[in-house]
Symmetry: C2
Subunit: 354 residues, 2 copies
């Protein structure tokens, strides 16, 4: 029986075929019509118990796995939702994704993840490809896209949720927080602590426009206050392409202090950078906050474990994902009563580093 002559291969049509067990095979095995197998699988209560059992047995015996593409093509519906983010190496997006996944999987949907590497052209290409899978909706990070991306999504006429930042204009639905307001809130905090010479330390800010929005909010707030300056430290010589944010922060601290010795407080673009700076401060014996105060953004758990504790702004990342997923699902299910834009807000956590 171990012979494997070509003749063993079952009769095939001229077409390729997967060679896999199909719905018809199950139907034949169970002695029913294919449509009955389809019903037994998709709407079990429309099939008599006797047939349901016979079909279930045949499915198990043959190891039948339904071909989702055929089903989706026939029914013009998929349960795969594309999620497009700029980066996976950033915990922030990963936590939002976790919130999305949790929500959509509970509703029987699957997530198709795409990463753009902060490249808007790649984003457009991804959107184009993913729309080819006729998704019931699309989840997209950010509010800034190429015109082509927006056009593709509008032409496809699918529900779209843009998540991460909250803003006035969106393609369809939007959930996030105002980074401008977050920057202003940190500026207010630092001023309340008595600091007047502030700095914002960012990396790759052309790509990470949300960081730039925080800087803008900080800057505007201080201009309005009149007595406080904000210096933007953006082009850091140490910023290598593959460096982690912690390494960038580590490297930036001495450069910033050398460039602006009178700086009093630094707001880093994120907690990772701030942690790197604090670790550097520790190694070099730079007192925080006495020599320079340090603050971060995101509210990662590590912020509370530093000595001194790192002042930061906590964003409800998982909640952003959950709400984005829920908004999309509601719309897919025809619920039009929901809000189209949600500002999830943020929380400033003052700690000893400022």
């Amino acid at each position: 029986m171990k012979r494997r002559s070509p003749a063993v291969r079952p009769k095939q049509s001229r077409r390729a075929g997967h060679g896999a067990v199909t719905l018809s095979d199950v139907a034949t095995a169970a002695g029913v019509a294919p449509i009955t197998v389809s019903r037994a699988l998709n709407t079990p209560d429309t099939v008599s118990e006797a047939l349901r059992e016979r079909i279930g047995a045949a499915v198990a015996a043959l190891g039948y796995v339904p071909n989702r593409m055929a089903g989706a093509l026939a029914s013009a519906r998929t349960r795969v939702v594309p999620v497009i983010v700029p980066s996976l190496s950033n915990v922030v997006f990963v936590e939002v994704i976790a919130g999305i996944q949790e929500t959509v999987e509970a509703a029987g949907y699957q997530m198709l993840l795409g990463s753009t590497d902060y490249d808007l052209a790649r984003e457009a290409a991804l959107v184009a490809t993913l729309l080819g899978w006729a998704p019931p909706g699309v989840l997209l990070a950010g509010l800034r896209h190429l015109p082509r991306t927006v056009e593709l999504l509008k032409t496809a006429a699918v529900p779209v949720v843009e998540f991460m930042e909250y803003g006035p204009r969106c393609i369809d639905m939007n959930v996030g927080l105002s980074h401008v307001r977050a920057g202003a809130a940190m500026a207010a905090h630092l001023r309340a602590c008595g600091y007047r010479r502030l700095g914002f330390v960012g990396a790759r800010m052309r790509d990470d426009y949300r960081a730039r929005q925080r800087y803008d909010g900080m800057n505007r707030h201080c201009i309005a206050a009149g007595d406080t300056t904000v210096t933007l430290f953006e082009t850091l010589s140490c910023e290598a392409a593959n460096d982690s944010d912690q390494e960038v922060g580590w490297c930036a601290l001495p450069e910033v202090l050398a460039a602006q010795p009178r700086i009093e407080a630094l707001f880093f673009a994120n907690d990772e950078m701030a942690v790197g700076a604090m670790l550097r401060a520790r190694r070099d014996g730079i007192a925080v906050p006495d020599r320079v105060a340090i603050a971060g953004f995101n509210g990662l758990p590590v912020s509370g474990l530093m000595t001194p504790g790192l002042t930061t702004i906590t964003s409800p990342r998982r909640a952003i994902g959950q709400r984005a997923g829920a908004m999309l699902l509601a719309r897919i299910n025809g619920d039009l009563s929901q809000r189209l834009r949600i500002d999830v807000g943020f929380t400033l956590e003052p700690r000893a580093s400022t």
Copy 2:
């Protein structure tokens, strides 16, 4: 022209339909047969330049996006590769995923990401569902799966790469490192430093069996040495479900020292936990390595930024992803000449924390 009476809707067949532009629409617009449009898009050099241009114009004018499901169903081929990992909130998997993505996207494939939350039953369910999309291959983290998972994959007869740990038995192909050997290497290092009362601190080790393998390797090495003890600290009261590993390490350190005051060196299950412990040591004034030496695993950048530097074992995470992707692609393209199992090894980085 703003009227939107039902009559405006174009004539439809009895079937659902996406209402979207199809290949036939493009064909009609360009005055050719559908198959010619298909060729112009998929194998452009088999079509005359004149037609190619006319078709390209029609595609652009109509905003045609090919229906991938129809294409995949007809050709029995997809370019979507499922990647299944236990968690996305762990940088380690994220970096492996980045390596995979980079490799498969360069070859024109897309990645469909699924996360199991360390639940083997969820893994089996995910594999079953994803196989319904008739993927050209599957990438799966780890070598331990339910029999049902293995059976599904073997029945589907698709190429499979299991990545993360390297081991003797795999479904098809395997790339990773030996965690047993990594544990032994750390034990050898700690013994070489003069420590004889060692501890291994793990969290959720029933799920994270790779951490248990490192413990096993460490333990066996020390038993063989004869003069060194290893205590396993596993059930930590502070281990809340939602705590980050850093918080677990932070919380574990005092507990461990209270339970075993004479312990000399601790090997943490990963760098995050070790960092949490070092931050705790710093806050509580516990001298590292004098009171207790600390080591981690993974070689995250932060390990080099700690004071003292954190001894760790670096795993080539991105390379694991790249090689896993490359192995799968080679097999998909019919290249059978390649190796089926790759041990990528690891590097021990001795630093001042030990």
